[in-house]
């Protein structure tokens, strides 16, 4: 069935809980575009994960850490003052910023570290953009007594100094990556190179729903706790499902985490907020779904930002965590099927939302999450007061305070 010819009919027919297929395909997207050397370790990982994901003891282990170590469930908070100020629909915030380490990323790293432990791998590698995934990985490695090496673009190291230091405090080695654009995509390339060289004893904890199969599925499954919780909390607190849900999308892990439990609720509108940087029309952005095209990057087929010769282009966003030229294949599939829509939010809109939320609700959101808040504000403005907009507040903004001060010409 071609999704593009009749998206509405196609979307209605899909049972989203059944994706991906055995080859790791979400419709036309996903798969395993990796060098031959990595096929065997990926197959080993897939086999281990397929067993663990339905193993009650493993699930109990994971849930125990989510509760007592991460501090779940995270609440849904009704941002009443913000909603009132906007004057439209009610804005609800899923407070992933209140998790241990300050973002949703820990859900995934706990899960993958447990998988690594079951597979007997003692050395962990990871890539990081904003540093949140690096911190979350370094944290769980300390927690489980595993060696940890984090690859990070030299540009990102410069703009996320505090997170770099946090990783070091947690005992991780942070390796600067100076190739290419010196950002997240290059850190991912370098981590892959490490993995291919050290496959026997090393587990690669990918931080987003990208990469080769089974990563997009595994990272989604570990983050899907966000949406499962939120769905139950909506009934508990509001007696019904939200009208719209929204989240920021870089690679897309917090977004798929929220969206997944709602995919089969056809009445819930789903909107992803991508980083439009200086504006999509300027070319300085990171909106792979809104402005990219299908291609192959980092082991999967998905929407990418590239030139007519297939070279991946450098992206721009004020938030390092969204500064990525690809996106998880499941989002590509949701876009084509029409089940979700993806829109751009500019740096300026995100910063305005950051300040608005800080002043009206006393919450400093991460710059990444501020894109989602900006989108929630836009949506709320267009909708009546009795409608509910649920926004994933995926991380806290402490790490961004320096960036924001610098942008506003303030020396701390």
């Amino acid at each position: 069935m071609s999704l593009k010819s009749n998206p509405a009919a196609a979307a209605a027919a899909i049972d989203y809980t059944h994706t991906p297929d055995a080859r790791g395909r979400f419709g036309d997207y996903g798969g395993s575009y990796v060098s031959e050397t990595l096929i065997a370790p990926l197959a080993e990982l897939t086999a281990a994960y397929e067993k663990l994901r339905v193993d009650p003891a493993f699930i109990a282990e994971f849930e125990r850490d989510l509760k007592y170590y991460v501090g779940r469930p995270s609440p849904i908070y009704h941002a009443e003052r913000l909603s009132k100020k906007i004057g439209g629909a009610q804005i609800l915030l899923k407070r992933e910023d209140l998790n241990h380490t300050g973002a949703h990323k820990i859900n995934n790293t706990i899960g993958q570290a447990l998988v690594a432990r079951h597979m007997g791998k003692r050395r962990i590698i990871a890539e990081t953009g904003a540093g949140q995934h690096g911190v979350a990985t370094a944290t769980v490695c300390a927690r489980f007594g595993l060696d940890c090496v984090v690859y990070m673009g030299a540009t990102d190291i410069e703009r996320q100094k505090i997170n770099v230091y946090r990783m070091k405090l947690l005992g991780a080695e942070v390796v600067p990556v100076t190739s290419g654009s010196k950002t997240l995509k290059d850190a991912l390339n370098e981590a892959m190179r490490d993995w291919v060289t050290n496959v026997a004893n090393t587990f690669y904890i990918i931080g987003t729903v990208a990469g080769p199969h089974p990563y997009p599925q595994m990272v989604r499954d570990f983050n899907a706790v966000v949406g499962r919780e939120a769905r139950a909390q909506m009934f508990e607190q509001f007696g019904r499902l939200p009208d719209v849900i929204t989240a920021c999308v870089g690679g897309g892990s917090n977004a798929i985490g929220l969206f997944h439990a709602f995919l089969n609720d056809r009445d819930v509108r789903i909107v992803g907020a991508e980083a439009a940087g200086d504006g999509i029309e300027t070319g300085r952005h990171a909106a792979s779904l809104a402005a990219g095209r299908p291609g192959v990057l980092h082991g999967n087929r998905t929407y990418v930002l590239c030139d007519d010769d297939g070279q991946i282009t450098e992206t721009h966003s004020v938030s390092a965590g969204l500064d990525y030229p690809g996106v998880g294949p499941e989002h590509a599939f949701l876009k084509d099927s029409g089940r979700a829509s993806y829109v751009g939010v500019t740096d300026e809109e995100a910063l305005a939302a950051f300040h608005e939320l800080a002043r009206t609700e006393g919450i400093l959101a991460a710059l990444e999450s501020s894109h989602a808040v900006a989108q929630a504000i836009k949506l709320a403005r267009e909708l009546p007061k009795d409608q509910l907009v649920l926004c994933n507040l995926s991380g806290r903004g402490d790490k961004d305070v320096h960036t924001i001060a610098t942008r506003e010409g303030i020396t701390l």
Partner: protein, 271 residues
């Protein structure tokens, strides 16, 4: 007959080990690429692997990665590369050319268009590093157009999978000598020898060994049991910084000729 197949039957008849140098198209001097290709042939290359630069070469080490970055900085693209192949073909009708690169440029050009243009220019095979047999459907138009899709086998490839790869292999099979990236130096000769013997037994096509071959000695050691050896990073490193076309060609010949001689000595001794 595809030039790759023809060349390997000649090598077999002559009981010679094939020499397959890899260069990144457009590096170090874009305009010197056709001359460089001729120099490689003069120095004894049997097949030329021409790297198509990619912005995110996940499987490559720093040497080839930097060569790609240099070429891309000089706006080297597919149209330019195929132009060089056409130019090379005016003086060389026989040496097979394999384009080596990553999937995204093929996807973006469209596999059918990519295949048509490559065949027209005189390309004989394509090696897509990030296209394992699971995703081979994406490269079907290349094979349909008559190009050989060169497949890889690695130390981590298990028995059942190796059989599938050997079954699907065309042109030649590229055996990766160790788990790692290009340009690293981690060869364990005994392991490679044992594995290559196993692969050669199953494969219907010749087996070339690459990764970690840096000089005459390592080429000779591997050449003793492989049908061909691939040399990439060490050659690319040698060419880097050459300032003129003649310097590029001289360096290429000086680097490759001792390796050619070592491969030929080894086979004549064996004979």
């Amino acid at each position: 007959m595809n030039r790759i197949d023809a060349r390997f039957s000649e090598l077999k008849a002559q009981r010679r080990t094939g020499l397959i140098p890899f260069v990144t198209a457009g590096d170090p001097l874009p305009e010197a690429t056709p001359a460089l290709m001729h120099a490689l042939v003069e120095a004894g290359a049997d097949v030329i692997e021409l790297g198509v630069p990619f912005s995110d070469p996940m499987a490559d080490g720093p040497v080839i990665q930097h060569a790609s970055e240099r070429a891309l900085a000089k706006q080297v693209g597919l149209a330019m590369i195929l132009g060089w192949v056409r130019e090379f073909r005016r003086r060389d009708e026989n040496t097979p050319i394999v384009l080596m690169g990553y999937m995204n440029p093929v996807e973006i050009h469209g596999a059918e268009r990519f295949a048509r243009e490559a065949v027209e220019a005189g390309v004989d095979g394509v090696l897509l590093v990030d296209c394992p047999i699971e995703e081979a459907q994406a490269a079907a138009p290349l094979r349909e157009a008559g190009l050989r899709q060169i497949l890889l086998a690695a130390p981590t490839t298990d028995g059942a999978r190796l059989a599938r790869i050997c079954d699907a292999a065309a042109g030649f099979l590229y055996y990766v000598s160790f788990a790692g990236i290009t340009g690293a130096d981690r060869i364990h000769l005994d392991d490679v020898r044992a594995r290559v013997a196993q692969v050669r037994e199953q494969a219907k096509v010749p087996v070339a060994v690459g990764f970690g071959i840096r000089d005459a000695a390592s080429a000779q050691a591997i050449g003793a049991f492989a049908d061909a050896v691939v040399i990439g990073s060490a050659l690319v490193e040698r060419l880097a910084g050459a300032a003129t076309e003649s310097e590029v060609c001289t360096r290429a010949r000086d680097f490759l000729m001792p390796i050619r001689a070592a491969l030929d000595v080894e086979k004549s001794e064996e004979a």
